[in-house]
């Protein structure tokens, strides 16, 4: 008896059971009970995702490829455009279904990234302005980034059901943090003397935000966006566990059947998609100086068109 007591005293963790796991399981019940309340949101988000996916799939692959290459040219220059064209061609030839699977995955990723920007940009700006908010937010962001996806997979499925909407939601949870962090960092590292000068010339707080702080923070924010896109892509395999279609699902199914070949095709597809998106967003991040201080519409295909127009006009 006495022996047991000392061991209890030195090792209280084993003998005390707060039943946290049991209590936490209540979240499942809560999720099921609130299913109805979340329906409008689910229907809306589902509509958005399906719209993007349908548009991507309805476009003939070569046209889609051309559009992506043009975007790459506009955002990151000719060299990147060629790189992207080659990468996408390889992606298309990986397998007969590879292109449509990649488009489905791209649609999911796009939806997740759009949601991340809508949430992350304002939250990040606010965090950049308020130390207290940032202090409260930081552990939450740490949790979102590090908690294993399997932990919140179950409650999300209970709440929303399997499918694309849940997939986008778990992706957002995982991929949101860097955008918020880097937006806040970008706002915080704006040269305070430039902000002071803007104040001295009579700028209002919102003018300082939109004319000074956000433009100066843009490179950092783009770096955050790039990270968010990359993390979104790394979630596609996990998201496929809750019945999200696309390249991730290929990998998951191949794993179940020990089909190494199919897994490689799916995996390479994801890698190529990641490279393409990375190069395009990194191109956005290039400083104006590297592009000869021109505005974005003065270079790339749009620049060509406007030039033609100006010559004729």
């Amino acid at each position: 008896m006495a022996d047991e007591k000392t061991s209890n005293w030195l090792n209280p963790f084993e003998s005390v059971d707060l039943k946290i796991a049991d209590h936490s399981d209540g979240i499942k019940q809560w999720a099921i009970e609130n299913r109805e309340a979340i329906q409008p949101f689910k229907i809306f988000l589902d509509g958005v995702i399906q719209g993007i996916e349908r548009a991507f799939l309805a476009t003939p692959p070569l046209v889609m490829l051309a559009i992506i290459v043009l975007i790459a040219w506009q955002a990151a220059g000719r060299r990147t455009a060629i790189y992207v064209a080659v990468a996408l061609t390889v992606l298309g030839f990986l397998s007969p279904e590879a292109w449509s699977l990649a488009m489905t995955t791209l649609a999911i990723v796009m939806a997740a990234v759009i949601l991340c920007v809508i949430i992350g940009l304002p939250v990040g700006i606010f965090a950049g302005k308020s130390d207290r908010f940032e202090a409260v937010l930081r552990p939450l962001l740490d949790t979102m980034q590090t908690i294993p996806a399997f932990v919140y997979l179950v409650p999300v499925v209970m709440l929303i059901g399997i499918g694309n909407v849940s997939g986008v939601l778990v992706t957002v949870i995982f991929a949101l943090a860097p955008l918020i962090r880097l937006t806040s960092l970008g706002i915080r590292t704006v040269n305070p003397s430039v902000v002071e000068a803007a104040r001295a010339f009579g700028a209002s707080p919102s003018q300082i935000m939109f004319k000074v702080e956000l433009p100066m923070a843009t490179p950092t924010i783009f770096a955050g966006l790039n990270q968010t896109i990359m993390l979104s892509l790394s979630m596609v395999v996990i998201a496929s566990m809750i019945s999200v279609r696309g390249l991730g699902n290929e990998v998951l199914r191949a794993m179940g059947r020990l089909d190494a070949g199919k897994a490689i095709v799916g995996g390479l597809g994801i890698v190529i998609l990641a490279i393409v998106l990375d190069r395009i967003t990194q191109g956005l991040n290039q400083s104006r100086r590297e592009r000869g201080h021109r505005h974005w519409w003065q270079s790339g295909p749009i620049g060509l068109i406007t030039n033609l127009f100006h010559k004729h006009a």
Binding site: E196, F201, G202, S204
Partner: protein
Amino acid sequence: MDIQGEEPVIRCDGVWKVFGAKAKEAIRAVKAGELNKAQIRDKLDCVVGVSDATFSVGRGEIFCIMGLSGSGKSTLIRHINRLIEPTDGAIYIEGRNVNAMSATELRRIRAETIGMVFQNMALMPHRNVRDNVAFALEVRGIAEDKRRAVARQAIEAVELTGWDLKYPDELSGGMQQRVGLARAIAANPSILLMDEPFSALDPLIRHQLQGTFMELSAELHKTTVFITHDLSEAIRIGDRIAIMKDGVLVQIGTPEEIVTNPVDDYVAQFVGGISKLDLVTAAKVMLPLEQYRQTNGSTDTANWPVARPDDKLNTLVNLSIGTAHPILVRDGDVVAGVVTKDALLRGIQGRDHAGPAKREIN
């Protein structure tokens, strides 16, 4: 320059700035004479930035505030457009209390009445020269073509024509500060605040920009508060100079007053190395004619070179060369006094002619 009855453009009235949580308490203690600055720092954990600054700047005047780094001069100038709130005291711009203004009024006066130039330029790196210069107009919502026209004029005034569409990082330091100057004058403000505008530049460029600034200011007649740590710059530019030390304005006066009559050892130390040739006037070094006659006997002044009372020592030196006679100082038809060679040399040295020089005359 006196302010003749007219309300000064800028008036600082007993301005205090104390940094720290217990600032109010600290000011009360200082005013009551209970604590000195070191005690405030140790006991209340407060730092006195500006203590009891009172001065006025008249219309069109260039008022230099000169002090070493940490003397509180940059803190003081930021009170004028309320980038910093005073802990105590008040600042009036054309009779209106800046600290009683609403946020909207304050933004209006900053955009329309006060232009500011910063030591580190503080240009916006994402905007080209033209958009930097037109910033004050842009925040007031002025139409783009008007903005461009105004910006073009301001850019022309600082001799940067042709650089409108370049970005700040493509410009040299001196050119960047020209942009800063153009930005400050673009909205045609009546007041210019210059926070060590030329300190970060190399000496030649600094001299050149001082010249540009003086031409501009002679032309535009802006009331200017000019911060510098360089007394010769203050003397070159300022109509009046205030010397600041540890947050206190130790002496305010014209360059000549400061140089010939430093109020304490601290000011005297600065003034020591300054050339008096272009500062000190004949009126300052001359003797009464009677006194001269008492010692040298009645002499004929007909062949003497003649100067006016406000002629500078430099002119007197030129007059004195090639003649053995002293210089007669005339104010119109009235003989004001005599400048002897000894007095002139003492004047150049910066010593009072009534001192050792007088004994030598005797």
